[in-house]
């Protein structure tokens, strides 16, 4: 890397080095015109960082603007580190998701680990105590060593960071499909809890106030990580990468505890807090100034450095982990410096808030950058063309018909499919119980975490079935929201809000851009009806390898509130003799299902229908039944349909079932949305039937034998619980060891 003195503004212009950093000629010209001079090397570098898609959202913002993000609970919508919702008693829940897809492909362990570290900083920089982490993962099929390596690394990385910092990883989801082989998805979501009076924002207000740098020293880690995440991946250039970021959960634990203590004890002198994420010091400092309508003046020689001879460009763009910025009232800095010093952490004043709206950097007594803050933080928006993908136009309307000639074998094969099989062999590596508040552990529908000292609990889940979106981006996105909500409802909690992780291919492809717009539309439509505003989220574009895009994969992270934790319901059957009911109609819904994928090797055809009204009605019904304590168990139906739902309730409860249905047996595999299976104790049967009327159908009984039976209108299915459960339980580890 050259120092600034060596590369003149003219050289930047002539060599077009800005193109390598991701700036277009038009953008560069705009900078020249606005500054009314040529930008120097450092200035060009900071524009390229701030104007990358990853930081500026210049391509996705026109679409994201449409997200619905206000209701009576919203205290903070999108735009800050994380969104905040009122949960009563002057408490608030804070949550957000983040993607670390590209870093995790290059370096699975550290990529995933630093993803967890980053999302936790987003939470505690708002002044909230993180209480839970969830993930949403996509990998290629488990049939090759490279995918095994990525899976092992990602799981170990999430575990390595989350376990050590002591925040439980309580839930998530994992899917497998060849489209993710060269571009795995690693999304992590964090949830925090706070007193409303402790709310912090990332703003740099007040002329003369100090900018304090806290935490790890700056090295050359992930230089240009933001532009890197905004560029497509090509296997040829796989080795062309920046220094890998390494996480230090021990240091972050110290930073987290000290930050929360500062918020508790010194909120009167703290003006703003911002974590350093993508584009590090640059984006955190400039955004704080821009949001406050102020300017900022930084002395880069003050920045704690791990390596020698770092240039201003490197210092600003470094993505070293575990770093935070505080804005503190002038004259009161020592209190904060002392607090961090006591925790053995670096804390240094590196600059001041100014009122001239300039972003000014000094290095070795020279001004090395001086540009308007607002210009820097507002990349020129791009309205991109969109067009419906060709493939959607030619999808056939007919639904796939599963082959059920050997019904038993079909079921055994299905429960062994990695997407269906239990993920416990993977998530057992996560400490899901530290903090001792986990009421419903991973393995059910949503996870439930109690709020100590109250009767309340928070339910949380992440969901999306990208195959549905591949066949219909809008309806598929609705179904993702619906499934998340069903999972929340199955615990007894009411859904209250959404964070998302929008993982898509290149937005420069009009078909991909269309998928993105449609997905956002779908999410929005159902979110409004569920009264679950989208309060935060993340966009990850350019998820392509050698020109092949992933399925559109908008991860939905949802949080629900249960006001009386003693009412919590679980998926497992409770007692032999309880009646089993199915809530919701089953129809021929087979295109895009797991059974289609398993039997044909692909997914095809028009997606089956989704009815908003049925979804909401059925959810309300389940909540009402739980409210009246009528249900022994509740499980929503999703991938794999009724058969998988029944089996999971049986496995979780160590009990079996005898079911009789007038459907033919292929309907056992239908993935018709908006359905639940519930079990009801004999003494509650009458009350339950009165409540639900025609909306639920009794289909059988819970039994304590090993044998599970389903008599459909055409076949009798008999399965041994032990044998079936072994396949369900062990399939993933068998495949990983193979």
């Amino acid at each position: 890397m050259h120092s600034d003195n060596e590369i003149t503004p003219e050289m930047v212009r002539d060599s077009k080095i800005y193109q390598q950093w991701g700036l277009t000629d038009t953008e560069y010209q705009l900078i020249v015109d606005t500054l009314d001079r040529l930008p120097n090397y450092t200035e060009t570098g900071i524009f390229s960082g701030m104007w990358s898609e990853h930081v500026s959202y210049k391509k996705s913002k026109p679409i994201l603007r449409h997200f619905w993000s206000t209701n009576e609970r919203v205290l903070q919508g999108p735009g800050e580190g994380a969104g905040i919702l009122d949960i009563g008693d002057n408490q608030a829940v804070v949550f957000k998701a983040e993607s670390h897809n590209h870093p995790s492909f290059v370096e699975p362990y550290e990529g995933a680990a630093t993803g967890v570290g980053g999302i936790l900083r987003d939470i505690f920089s708002m002044g909230a105590q993180p209480i839970a982490v969830l993930d949403s993962l996509r990998f290629g099929e488990l049939d090759n060593a490279h995918t095994h390596h990525i899976v092992d690394g990602v799981i170990a990385g999430i575990a390595g960071y989350g376990n050590a910092i002591g925040i439980p990883t309580v839930g998530g989801e994992i899917g497998f499909d060849p489209v993710y082989a060269g571009n795995p998805l690693v999304n992590v979501m964090a949830v925090g809890l706070m007193d409303q009076k402790g709310m912090q924002v990332g703003q740099a207000k007040g002329v003369g106030n100090s900018i304090i740098y806290v935490g790890a020293k700056t090295g050359r880690d992930g230089i240009n990580g933001a532009s890197f995440a905004s560029a497509e991946f090509s296997t040829e250039h796989e080795s062309d990468r920046s220094a890998v970021q390494v996480g230090d959960p021990f240091l972050e634990k110290l930073v987290m505890d000290a930050t929360l203590q500062a918020v508790r004890d010194h909120s009167d002198i703290i003006v703003g807090i911002q974590d350093m994420g993508a584009a590090g010091l640059l984006s955190s400092s400039s955004e704080m100034a821009s949001k406050a309508g102020m300017g900022i003046d930084l002395d880069l020689n003050q920045v704690p450095q791990r390596e020698t001879a770092m240039t201003p460009y490197e210092l600003m763009l470094s993505e070293s982990q575990e770093r935070m910025l505080f804005v503190v009232k002038k004259g009161e800095e020592q209190v904060i410096l002392d607090l961090f010093k006591k925790a053995n952490l670096d804390a240094v004043i590196i600059g001041r808030v100014t009122d001239d709206g300039r972003y000014r950097l000094r290095f070795n007594d020279q001004v090395v950058a001086d540009v308007p803050v607002d210009f820097l933080t507002h990349a020129p928006k791009q309205d991109l063309p969109m067009v419906a993908p060709q493939r959607l136009a030619i999808l056939k309307a007919d639904q796939f018909v599963p082959d059920v000639t050997d019904l038993k074998q079909t079921v055994l094969d299905l429960v062994g499919q990695p997407t269906i099989a239990s993920k416990s062999d993977l998530f057992r590596h996560f400490d899901s119980q530290v903090r001792a508040d986990t009421v419903i552990k991973p393995g059910g529908d949503a996870t439930l975490v109690r709020i100590r000292g109250t009767k309340k609990a928070l339910a949380m889940t992440t969901d999306v079935n990208a195959r549905y979106l591949y066949l219909n981006p809008k309806v598929g996105a609705k179904m993702a929201v619906a499934e998340a909500a069903r999972n929340i409802v199955a615990t007894g909690a009411t859904p209250i809000g959404i964070t998302d992780g929008l993982n898509f291919g290149s937005p420069d492809n009009p078909e991909v851009y269309y998928e993105l717009a449609q997905a956002v539309d779908g999410i929005n439509e159902l979110a409004k009806q569920l009264n679950t505003p989208i309060i935060s989220g993340n966009v990850s574009l350019y998820n392509e390898t050698d020109g092949q895009a992933i399925y559109p994969t908008p991860m939905i992270g949802m949080v629900g509130l249960l006001t009386d934790v003693s009412k919590a319901t679980r998926i497992g059957f409770q007692n032999a003799g309880d009646s089993i009911y199915i809530i919701g109609e089953t129809s021929a819904s087979f295109n895009g299902t797991e059974i289609q994928k398993m039997q044909t090797g692909t997914i095809d055809g028009q997606l089956f229908e989704f009815n908003d009204h049925d979804e909401i009605t059925n959810q309300k019904l389940v909540l009402a039944a739980i409210e009246q304590s009528l249900l022994a168990s509740v499980h929503d139906l999703s991938e794999g349909g009724l058969i998988v739902g029944l089996l999971e309730s049986a496995f979780a409860g160590h009990l079996s079932f005898n079911v009789v249905t007038d459907m033919t047996s292929e309907f056992l595999f239908a993935e018709t949305p908006s359905r639940f299976i519930v079990s009801v104790a004999p003494q509650n049967r009458d009350a339950f039937e009165k409540l639900v009327g025609e909306s639920a159908q009794k289909i059988g009984e819970v039994s304590d034998e090993d044998q599970m039976t389903i008599q459909s209108s055409d076949q009798l299915l008999q399965l041994s619980r032990q044998e079936t459960q072994t396949i369900y339980q062990e399939s993933i580890s068998w495949r990983l060891k193979a």
């Binding site: 880690d221 220094a243 890998v244 390494v246 021990f250 791990r306 070293s320 982990q321």
Partner: protein, 89 residues
């Protein structure tokens, strides 16, 4: 039979949190003259091979592909000839 002793360390620009923590522990324990600590890995691998060249190639190959993480680590190794059941250290 060959014995490969393989020393793995972080590349210079990679953060080594362990080394930092160990260094500060040593300083607290009054080992004041210590200016740098880095922790790496050390492998001893016994292998059969046709000759030294083959053994060298094999060690390079599996170290690159399995023992180290090429994104963050680098290594060197020594190779010696040993008897079947010789103790290593």
């Amino acid at each position: 039979m060959y014995l490969a002793k393989i020393y793995v360390t972080y590349k210079p620009s990679i953060l080594d949190p362990q080394g930092e923590v160990i260094k500060s522990a040593l300083t607290r324990l009054d080992y004041t003259g210590i200016s740098q600590v880095s922790q790496g890995k050390y492998f001893e691998v016994k292998l059969d091979a046709r000759d030294v060249e083959a053994a060298t190639a094999e060690v390079k190959s599996f170290t690159d592909s399995l023992l180290i993480n090429q994104n963050t680590e680098t290594y060197r190794f020594d190779l010696s000839i040993v008897n079947e059941d010789e103790a290593t250290l």
